[in-house]
Amino acid sequence: MLTVVLIMISGIIVGFLVKSKKRLVKGNDKLTTWAIYALLFLMGIGIGANKTIMGSLHTLGLKALAISLGAIAGSVLLGWVTYKLFFKRS
């Protein structure tokens, strides 16, 4: 966890230093998108090859799915309220 934060902070410093180089900044956005694709692809392999996850999908999967949907819907809707009350600039 600390590693991730430190890597990001070093990225922020590098970004601050190269700010004026527009082409570099643009390229960085594209690279970020592709890194997201790579991460999801690799996560997919990890999950697909994980026998605990794939093997219990049909028995416990429905409970898990329902809980996730409740958790996501609840926090997204309350997040909407918090955004409107405290963050949105009129």
């Binding site: 590693t3 902070i9 990225g11 970020t32 809980i67 958790a71 926090s75 809707l77 918090t82 963050f87």
Partner: protein, 200 residues
């Protein structure tokens, strides 16, 4: 939307390779997703550092940032408490403990397995993986329809790493630091809230 579909495509391709055992051995043996995450965090950092609006936003956020993790904790508890009575074979308290993993599946599933049972640990693993993946796929839509905080709340503890890049793209770089702080706060709280829910 198009972005989410491409992401879903890559994820599905990965799962297909993983399930069918056709992924090259070197790709399965080592967990490269960790390194992909490191690269990603560096790139996100560069994105924030080179964006002057993002840097300005850090100064104006102040204490309001802490409202976001509170929102996530309350919203998750409410949502799970409402849906749990519809499920058979799981109590509201058990379901809420699963929800309190906030997407942090590795830690929450281990705690729940140790404190409660193997099966609830597996539910926690599945449920929190689903939360992370859903956030990765839906973040752009959440930001569009439910405001810029919604993807952060949906991401839970993962808003500091795996889902941070997509949140930063969907809500804007000025929300990246809020997302990071939110993820750190929830990551620290997961063990406490999960064990509290299981012990009462």
């Amino acid at each position: 939307m198009k972005g989410s579909l491409i992401i879903l495509g890559f994820f599905a391709l990965g799962i297909a390779l993983g399930v069918s055992n056709t992924a090259p051995d070197w790709l399965v043996k080592t967990d490269y997703s960790q390194y992909a995450l490191y690269v990603l965090m560096f790139l996100v950092g560069v994105g924030i550092g080179s964006d002057s609006n993002a840097l300005k936003a850090i100064g104006t956020m102040n204490f309001k940032v802490l409202l976001i993790p509170i929102t996530t904790i309350l919203g998750t508890a409410l949502g799970v408490a409402l849906i749990a009575p519809l499920l058979s074979g799981i109590s509201i308290k058990e379901a809420m403990a699963v929800g309190a993993g906030y997407g942090y599946y590795s830690l929450s599933s281990i705690i729940i397995k140790e404190m409660h049972s193997e099966w609830l640990g597996v539910v926690a693993l599945l449920s929190n993986v689903i939360r992370e993946v859903t956030t990765l796929l839906m973040a752009p839509l959440f930001a569009l329809y439910f405001g810029k905080i919604a993807p952060i709340c949906s991401g839970g503890a993962t808003s500091m790493d795996t889902t941070l890049p997509i949140i930063s793209q969907s809500s804007g770089k000025e929300y990246a630091i809020a997302s990071l702080i939110h993820g750190i706060v929830l990551t620290v709280l997961v063990p406490f809230i999960v064990s509290l829910l299981l012990s009462i």
